[in-house]
Assembly symmetry: C2
Homo-oligomer: 426 residues x 2
């Protein structure tokens, strides 16, 4: 007897899943023992399926018909966004169908509600494709590393941002120029906001935090900074100091408290994540018993994402009549550390008038707030009478630093507000 797959959504990922199932279903059956078979597809625009040979496959305009199809054992929600994805996911779970989704936005906003519905119905809700595309990182966190305590996850989780930062770093281009090229090449969406503002990475960060900390983490508790304010100067100063800038999602598990955030981060050039370039993603995980591990691959795209969706389908098929395991296990809710209480090293770029006493005043204000400077760069010969003063702090409390910067930014010698970036110590 076959294991029937229903696909809702005829977009890029839906098409990739159809293609994978059609090309590989026999090989998958031979290798895994799971006889996956595409039995039903649905899209509000059924004409979108015209490029596929769907002989023998039911085509519907609405997800409800697909969910009610008794031949469908697992429903793949591949339409994205909150609604109607949420409604159809809940309907499928409530109807006793397992669901595979690639929808990080939906999980990040409504994970606990969906999780409760899956547990109540005793079915699976799987989401490997929601984070890291073709990299089986959810499986690694959920199963592969299940024996130990994960205390740090650092991920490059947005391929568009990594592509832009890579080209800024190695080709000396400015953000806007690279973004335009990336859009022309199809590496960036139009509008690009969800990616470059950090929101897509934040959705994935929420999922990773909930999973690796076994506690419900709310999206609102994750501070997010995108990459739109990063200039080529920042990238160049960072390299001068031996660092590269990456947009990181960081989750830390510290003495029962959780730290989760997304922001551009300076990484030492010899850090494993520093060599992850272009559209690639990677996740660095430290657990008590394994030490550091790293997972690398393509974080998006039609076929890598389809790989993750189909791997989830196979897992559910393999489970057979066994008990489903909950998509998330939320233990006692643990506090998420307020960003003001973060501690670390910081990169500061002050843009000031070229006049005597500036460095002294800035450093005095920092010192008054207990912020100690580890290194400083000021080059000759800036244009427009403005100079950059770049500093790297020692470990400091972010709220102290921000108080100092509020004072500095009000000084008459400042031309622009200070640019502040986090530095990874690990």
């Amino acid at each position: 007897m076959s294991f029937g797959v229903g696909i809702v959504g005829a977009g890029v990922v839906g098409g990739g899943v159809i293609q994978t199932l059609q090309q590989n279903a026999r090989a998958i059956h031979a290798r895994t023992g799971v006889p996956v078979e595409l039995v039903h597809v649905a899209d509000t625009n059924p004409a979108a399926f015209k490029d596929f040979d769907l002989a023998g496959v039911t085509i519907s305009e609405d997800a409800a018909t697909l969910i009610q199809d008794s031949n469908v054992n697992v429903v793949c929600e591949l339409i994205g966004g909150i609604e109607p994805a949420k409604r159809l996911t809940l309907d499928a779970l409530n109807a006793g169908k397992s669901v595979v989704t690639a929808n990080k936005m939906l999980l990040a906003h409504h994970g606990p509600e969906l999780c409760a519905a899956a547990v109540k119905a005793g079915v699976d809700l799987r989401y490997e494709a929601a984070v890291g595309g073709g990299i089986p990182i959810i499986k690694a966190l959920r199963e592969g590393l299940a024996a130990g305590d994960i205390h740090l996850v650092c991920g490059i989780l947005n391929g568009t941002c990594n592509y832009i930062l890579t080209r800024m770093t190695y080709e000396g281009l400015e953000f806007d120029a690279v973004l335009k090229q990336a859009q022309a090449l199809g590496f960036a969406e139009t509008p690009p906001d969800l990616d470059v503002n950090g929101d897509d990475a934040a959705h994935k960060c929420q999922i990773i935090a909930s999973l690796s900390c076994a506690s419900q983490v709310d999206l609102e508790d994750i501070p997010v900074q995108g990459i739109t304010h990063i200039t080529h100067s920042d990238v160049a100063y960072a390299r001068e100091m031996g660092y590269v800038i990456k947009l990181l999602a960081i989750v830390r598990n510290i003495n029962g408290e959780i730290e989760a955030r997304v922001h551009p981060t300076l990484l030492r050039e010899d850090h494993l994540l520093a060599s992850v370039r272009n559209e690639y993603n990677a996740v660095y995980v430290e657990a008590d018993i394994t030490g550091p591990t790293l997972y690398y691959g393509k974080g998006a795209g039609r076929m890598p994402t389809a790989s993750a969706v189909v791997a989830d389908i196979i897992d559910i098929g393999r489970r057979g009549t066994g008990e489903a395991s909950p998509p998330f296990v939320y233990g006692p809710r643990r506090p998420v550390r307020d960003s003001g209480r973060l501690e670390g090293r910081y990169y500061l770029r002050l843009t000031t008038r070229d006049q005597p006493g500036v460095l002294g005043q800035a450093c005095t204000i920092l010192g008054n707030h207990g912020v100690s400077i580890a290194s400083c760069i000021q080059h000759e010969g800036h244009s427009n009478d403005a100079v950059h003063v770049v500093m790297m702090t020692h470990d400091t409390c972010e709220s102290d630093l921000r108080a100092a910067l509020r004072e500095i930014d009000q000084c008459a010698f400042m031309v622009q507000p200070t640019s502040l970036l986090w530095v990874l110590n690990h």
Copy 2:
């Protein structure tokens, strides 16, 4: 009701598993829903368990008693070697108990027989710890990448060899000197043969080949070369040409044929695997739909290996009453390509007398066998009247190259046989 774990073997890994279960059993239960509990341990020397608080745990001298214990749901075979590990694994499987093993030697020699026993009994045989220690690479190959066809796996799978080669590369030391230090530090066994001769990596290569090609691959069909003949000169010449030397296990899936081998390999310095240093392992996998992915971490050691063993235990516990999935799926047996038919680029180091005409004669012989030279290095000022002539070939068939080298090595100007290393093109 708890899920009872029995451990056979009080060695380093057995101790790590006991420690993990004792420290983390409650957390594992909370996070995964699997109530793992250590119920029975066995070792021919039960005194070896004296460092653990085993109140409430049965201690036996023989594995048979442990296997017969009705409280034991899963048997962990952690004694290593072929016998009695094979006998007890078969006994456990035949008694209807799932088995978790870290024993790559046993699997590489007797995988098909053990697999058949597990399938017949309808129980699990899991072996995450046999390859890559704390890196969940078996899970990635078996489940995470199950939707596509894997066509290349390149692994740094022996931490001892990688440690030795790293220190030779970055500290300019000779093999013997590093090996002695590694033994003193506990990074290398005494005697070191299983590691430095490549056999340990070959065992892991056999497992990866069987898994990723879904075909039975015999250990005898895997050509193995260790690292004992690598000199500091080779490492230095490689770096001069922009390469580093790593011991790689390579599995390729080419048009229905399988290529599987273990040997020192030149990798371009910017290859992801080139930056894997010291005792770390990494596996690079290319599949049709995901493209390249990489998995990195500690490949050995008490706690990383325990992490893999316990993750397998949790998976078996999660399965509950569901059907076990076969440890290996052997499809139709596909041919393993004979090493003479390998094609690739090669590094050659000739040690010759310093006399006129040597380079011409050597290159003529290579040319007569259709071997084309891509680059060549010969430095002035060697001692003992012997000089190194180092060449990198274009793509060539290994049997042609070896025929040429047999001829060259018989020439009067040769001081030592030619040193031959494979070069990775990917």
